[in-house]
Symmetry: C2
DNA sequence: CTAATTTGTAAACTGCCATGACGAAATAGC
DNA sequence: GCTATTTCGTCATGGCAGTTTACAAATTAG
C-alpha cells in the first residue's frame, strides 16, 4: 500500500494497443523462449515455475515452439533429486539465425548467430573504406553476407533477419545512414542496396556495441553507459535494459559534449567538444603521430613502449573523458560505465586520469568504470544478436517463415 | 518486413510477469479509462474503435467501470450524424481523488484533483521552511492534507493516494528524502511521518514538475527535458512518455554538469558546475544583490526595471545553461526543452543568451526551448496527477477500495 | 414513410489458461 | 526388494475474455 505510484504501465493513450488472447499467447511464447534461452536446459516444470504459468499451460506452449523448430527436446534429465526427472528443453541450434554485418572504417564483416547465441559462420574482409563510395562497399558486404548465409544454411539454419552496424548516425527508419564522417557518406539508403530477402535493421555501431555489452557482457547491469570511439566518440545509453535512442535517433553523441567551452573549434560548430581532446585525430596530434592505417594499434603499441608523448596524450584524453562523463553521470545516474571499441584497447592508459577526474567531481560512491571484454567484435555480435533477440521477443512472428 | 527489430517488448527475463486472462482484463480496463480520459466524453462504440476492441467487449468493460464508480454515463449524445446516437461516457467526478502535496522552501501546499483532472480542493501556507526541522514542517503539511481530504470528501470524492513533492533528492523507495540542501534535511523518512491511510509517493519537485508538463502541457512532446531551478538546478528527463530516474533515483542533476572545468569550487566536490553560474545564489551574487525572502521575484523585478547588473547576471546564467544543455541535448536528443519553476519567471532575460549558445553549439535544426505555462504550480499539480494517472493505469486495483 | 446507418446488447463460439486427476519415473525408508 | 513419496508431463474439465453474429432501438436521408 506504499509503493511508487506513477510508474505503472501502460501510460499514455499512445500505447493503446488492444490486448487480446492471441497477444497474450504470443507474449507467453516469448516468456518461454526467454526462460529457456537465459537459464540453459530447463524442464517444462522448471519453465512453468520461472514464468508463473502452470505446467499444463507451458506444455502446450512448448509443444508449439517445438513444432515450429524454435525449441528442442534434449531428452530426460539426469536425475539426482527425488521425483520423475524432467525432459530437458533447449533453444534449437537448427532454427532461425541472426545475420549480423558491420561496415567498419578499415574492414567489412558478417556473421551468423543461432538462437543459442553461438556464432555459426563468419566472413571478414580487411582494407580501408575511407572515402570509398557506398555502392561498391555495400556490394562487397552483400557478398560476405551471402557467404555467411550459405554457410548457415548448410548447417541447417535459416536467416531470420539482417542487422548492419555502421560507423555513423542512422535515421530512425533504421535504413538510412544520415552521416558517416569517417566514410564520408551522407544520406545513404542502405535498405535499397542490401538484399531484400529478410527484415533489415541498420544502426550505429556504438548502439550495437552497447547492446552486445548488455546481452553478452559478463556482469553488465541493466543500466549503463557504453562509451566507444570509432566514429568520433559515441555512447550507447542503456536504461533499464533497453537502448535510449532519442527523437531523431541521435542520442549518445558524447563526442560533442562541451568540455572546455572556449576551447578549439569543432566541426559541429561548437567549441571545445570532447572530440577535440579525446577524439582519435586529436590524440594522435597531441602525441605527435601521423594518422596512418591502424591508428589505435599504433597508439597502444607506443604507449606500451612507454613513449612519454603518447602517454601524456592519452592521460589528457582520459581527463577530458572524465569531465564529459561527469556530466553524463549527473544527468543519467547509471549503474556503471563501460569502455568499449578503441577505448577498450587504450584503457590502461586512459583509466587512471579518467577515474581520478570522476572521483574528484562526483560525490557519493564512485561508479564503476569497466572495460568491455568483447573488444572490436562488439558491434558485429550486437547486430547479429539483435536479430536473435527479436526472435526470442516474438517467436510467433517467426513461426510462419522457415 | 523491413522494420526495426530490436525494440519489441518484452525484453529480458526480468519482466517475466505471468500473462493471464485477468491481467489482460486489467489492461483493457486501463485502456478504456485512458481513452475516455484523454478524449472527452465518448460513446462505447467510439471507445471500441479507439482501443481496437469490439463494441461488445467494451460494453462489459464499461459496465464494470460504471459499477465501480470510475466512469459515468452522461446520457444520449446530441445526434448530428446518421445512426442511433451513442450514450456519452465520462470519467467520474465523484470517484477517487489524487491528493498532491508540496514542501517548498518558502511554502507548503496541498490539493485534491479528481479523475477528470479538475482541482477540487486546495490549501496553502506561506512562510519559509529553511532550516526548520522536519517534524513540525511535516506536521503542518499533514494538517493541510487533512483539510484538503475533508473538503474532497464533502464533494463526494475519496482519496486514492498521496504524492508529495520535495525540494531534494529522494531515494528510490519513494519515501525517504536523502538530501534537501535548501531545507538542510538529510535522510528523512517521510513515510513514517505522514498519514498512513493511503498509498504514499514522495518525489523530487523537478520530477513532478516535469510530469505535470508532460500531462498538462499544451503541446508538450513525449520526449523532452524539463529544467527547473528551485533546489539548485534540476532537470526531469522525460523519455518516450515516462520519467528517467536513474539507478539511485538521482538522474537529472543538471546543476552539477561541469560548465567550466577549472571554474570555482562547488559543494559537490567538483569545479565549475552549472550551479556556480546559473544557481540562485550565484546569480544573486553576480547581480550584486543580497539573498532575501522572495529571491526570484526580486530578480525578475529588477530585471524588468532594467537593472544592468541583474540583466548581465541573467544573461551569463543563460549562457552557462546553454553550455550545459548542449551536453544534455547531445546525449539525449530530446524533442525539446521546457523551462519551468523559477526559470520560467526569468525566461525573458535568460532565453536570448541561452538560445544563442545552443544554436551556436549544436548543428542541425534548433531544438525548441519553450517556457512552462504551469509556473510554480507544476510540482503540486504533477504530484496530484501522478495519483490520478495511477488510477487510470490500473483501475482494477482501486475498484476494491472506496 | 421507408431505407440506410449507427449504437448497444444478448447469445453462441473460440481460444487460453487454471484446476484436478492420473500414469510415469525417479528417490527414500524399511 | 518393496512400498511410500515426490516430481514430471499430460489429459479432461471448467471458467473467463474477447469475437462473431444477430437484432432491436434511435437517428438521418430521400
Amino acid at each position: 500500500m506504499t509503493a511508487p505510484l506513477h510508474e505503472a504501465r501502460p501510460t499514455g493513450p499512445g500505447r493503446a494497443l488492444p490486448d487480446t488472447q492471441q497477444g497474450m499467447r504470443r507474449r507467453n511464447l516469448a516468456r518461454v523462449m526467454h526462460a529457456v534461452s537465459a537459464e540453459g536446459p530447463l524442464s517444462r516444470a522448471a519453465v512453468a515455475s520461472r514464468i508463473g504459468l502452470t505446467r499444463a499451460a507451458v506444455s502446450t506452449l512448448v509443444d508449439e515452439l517445438i513444432r515450429t523448430g524454435l525449441l528442442e527436446e534434449l531428452g530426460p534429465e539426469r536425475p539426482g533429486r527425488v521425483g520423475r526427472p524432467g525432459s530437458a528443453l533447449a533453444v534449437s541450434g537448427r532454427g532461425p539465425a541472426g545475420i549480423g554485418a558491420e561496415i567498419g572504417v578499415d574492414h567489412l564483416a558478417a556473421c551468423a548467430v543461432d538462437l543459442r547465441g553461438e556464432v555459426r559462420a563468419r566472413a571478414v574482409r580487411h582494407g580501408t573504406n575511407r572515402g570509398r563510395s557506398p555502392e561498391p562497399v555495400v556490394e562487397e558486404l552483400t557478398g560476405l553476407v551471402r557467404r555467411v548465409v550459405a554457410e548457415a544454411e548448410r548447417a541447417g539454419l535459416w536467416p531470420a533477419g539482417l542487422a548492419v552496424a555502421v560507423p555513423g548516425l542512422v535515421a530512425r527508419d533504421a535504413r538510412t545512414v544520415v552521416r558517416a564522417p569517417n566514410l564520408d557518406w551522407q544520406d545513404v539508403d542502405l535498405g535499397a542496396m542490401l538484399p531484400g530477402e529478410f527484415p533489415l535493421t541498420v544502426d550505429n555501431e556504438a548502439n550495437f556495441g552497447g547492446l552486445a555489452e548488455l546481452w553478452l557482457g559478463v556482469d553488465t547491469p541493466g543500466d549503463f553507459l557504453h562509451v566507444s570511439a570509432e566514429i568520433g566518440i559515441g555512447a550507447a545509453l542503456v536504461v533499464d535494459g533497453s537502448l535510449l535512442r532519442g527523437t531523431r535517433g541521435f542520442a549518445g553523441e558524447l563526442g560533442h559534449v562541451p568540455v572546455h567551452p572556449d576551447g578549439p573549434e569543432c566541426g559541429c560548430g561548437g567549441r571545445g567538444c570532447l572530440e577535440q581532446y579525446a577524439g582519435e585525430e586529436a590524440v594522435l596530434r597531441a602525441a605527435g603521430l601521423e594518422p596512418g592505417e591502424d591508428r589505435v594499434g599504433l597508439l597502444a603499441g607506443r604507449a606500451a613502449d612507454g613513449d612519454p608523448d603518447v602517454r601524456r596524450a592519452l592521460r589528457e584524453a582520459g581527463t577530458a573523458l572524465g569531465i564529459a562523463l561527469t556530466g553524463a553521470l549527473n544527468l543519467l545516474d547509471p549503474e556503471g560505465v563501460v569502455l568499449g571499441g578503441a577505448l577498450a584497447g587504450l584503457a590502461p592508459w586512459l583509466l587512471p586520469s579518467l577515474e581520478a577526474e570522476l572521483s574528484r567531481r562526483t560525490a557519493g560512491p564512485a561508479r564503476p568504470v569497466s572495460v568491455s571484454r568483447l573488444g572490436p567484435e562488439g558491434p558485429l555480435l550486437g547486430a547479429a544478436h539483435s536479430v536473435v533477440r527479436a526472435v526470442l521477443d516474438d517467436p510467433a512472428a517467426v513461426a510462419g517463415r522457415a
